[in-house]
Symmetry: C2
Subunit: 339 residues, 2 copies
């Protein structure tokens, strides 16, 4: 048994515990069914079942946004814990096994009744874009009781995903984590998760960010949705007042980091064959936070984030398939940097 009192984590991730069911589909599959492309749509069990019946599942792999990030961080050698809810069913056991195998501590008590483990049907189109249809299931049952003060206190950074806000019980868990983190002077990192998710909760997200968040992760569409502002540069001048650091990913245009009066534009990694963009944002956050927890400059943090994202999009699934530390070390060497 791990004595949690004495454990110190660099990052404690809190998020929806989800297993991804990956399937390759043609563009027609999405358009015929009028499905939302490139985003995450919440579905009920029955609708998930309908889509599931029409696909040939390629692979089932553990996912979940925050979970992907801490699994990525662990691959860099950063000590992490994860808090999220599964059911004690087959998928739940697979999730637990997988996150444990990646080196992340995971203690949250699983459900043994009620909804089954959450899953996300990830449809990957030939352009490597992913469209997700998520049945939250047990993940929705994360509650304030699952957030214990000792775990929050033992983390330097508490990492939260916007997706948690989709359920009232998980909202309360998130707020409890924020309050405890602030009480213990821990940094709070927050991912905006998804454009549709931002549109669902933008007013509350802005309040949450102003009150609690130190490090914000999002992409260009998400920050534009947050401020209902189409000009990216204007959003940068808005967010600089609200958080210490905002890291905004911009696809092939790289990323931009806002840190008060400083804006850092970093080029994207070139990737020859993009297979599946699932988890690109999650792994960018992992690389960035690896740099941050090891006191790298923000420009280097962003470069590491881009390299980690580049690894994840060359294969199916949102968990790294190589040691990110080694992978990033090799890539950075090309730019004359060492880690």
């Amino acid at each position: 048994m791990i004595n949690r009192d004495s454990t110190v984590y660099d990052v404690v991730g809190i998020g929806n515990a989800i297993v991804d069911v990956l399937a390759k589909v043609g563009e027609g599959f999405i358009s015929e069914r009028k499905l939302a492309k490139g985003a995450m749509t919440l579905v009920e069990a029955v609708d998930a079942g309908k889509i599931y019946n029409d696909i040939i599942p390629e692979r089932e792999v553990s996912g979940g946004s925050s979970a992907n990030t801490v699994a990525g961080l662990s691959s860099f050698g950063v000590s992490c814990a994860f808090i999220g809810k599964v059911h004690d069913d087959e998928l739940g056991q697979e999730f637990k096994r997988s996150i444990g195998a990646s080196g992340v501590d995971f203690f949250t008590q699983p459900l043994n009744q009620g909804p089954s483990t959450g899953r996300s049907i990830v449809l990957v189109t030939p352009d490597a874009e992913r469209s997700m249809f998520t049945y939250l299931g047990a993940a929705k049952k994360l509650s304030a009781k699952d957030i214990d003060e000792e775990t929050i206190r033992s983390g330097k950074i508490i990492y939260l995903e916007g997706y948690l806000w989709d359920d009232f019980s998980a909202q309360r868990a998130m707020l409890k984590a924020c309050k405890l983190a602030q009480k213990h002077h821990r940094k709070i990192a927050f991912s905006l998760s998804d454009k549709l998710c931002v549109e669902r909760h933008r007013v509350e997200f802005i309040k949450l960010i102003k009150k609690y968040v130190d490090i914000l992760f999002c992409n260009e569409d998400e920050i534009k949705a947050l401020f209902q502002e189409e000009d990216l540069y204007k959003t940068l001048d808005l967010i600089k007042h609200d958080v210490e650091i905002a890291a905004i990913t911009r696809n092939i245009q790289g990323s931009v980091i806002v840190n008060g009066r400083v804006k850092i534009f970093v080029e994207a990694e070139k990737v020859e064959d993009v297979v599946d963009t699932t988890g690109a944002g999650d792994l960018y956050a992992a690389g960035f936070l690896f740099g941050y927890t090891t006191d790298r400059s923000l420009g280097t943090c962003a470069m590491i984030g881009s390299i980690a994202a580049a690894e994840i999009i060359t294969h199916y699934g949102a968990r790294p398939e190589v040691s990110l530390r080694g992978f990033v070390r090799n890539q950075l060497r090309k730019y004359g940097k060492t880690i």
Copy 2:
């Protein structure tokens, strides 16, 4: 006598040793005489005399671009030496006294015959812009003999100004310094000095930069002149291949730092009453290099540069009138940073 063998400098500046003769003039003074505004024009002694006869000199203060930078660095507590040529006349003695008083070691043997100490008539118009008319005098006589291997070897960074390229003897001094610095694996910093200066020497400057320069300082006009390219963003993508770091000042738009795949945009310091912009670029370089020699992030280096420049433009003359270390510490505190 100082034993130079055992002295280690953070920065060794090499440049034209110049005394600035400051005068306030109206816009008409510049336009009537068809003088170049906002730049540095080289003049012969006789032309300098003509302008001098028409002005009421406000102050005579030691100047020279590199000399201003090392004087600024010294005000941060950074150990510096300066190499440049004066005549052993009254102005030359004033230059020596002034740079010594600022804490900079200055050993270059003065002339005791030939041209008198160089001077620059600095006309400050009501918009605080400065137009300079420089008689190089003794400064032109800087020669390869004045560059000794031991001084170059003892500096971590060798700082050179583009103005040196205006004379063949000083060119050879500069090339000797570059070769010695490269031999001893010292960093070479280079300031493009002035738009007209870049236009005079752009092809040679590009060669010099590619071959020797690690850290380039310039303003927006200068880098555009260097590449004969009006789009600033295109110049950034050109210079990134040639130097490790380029720091480009942009007036009230702040500055941008190019470091390989990373571009860092930093806001300018707000200054209420701009009196005289002489030395703004020189002091930006001083602040930046103070940050660099003390291992700050490039964004912080640029912020320190901007703050140092903000100090210098609130008064006449290009040498700091307060301790820059203290001044910058107070300003940075507002942004939650400490030095």
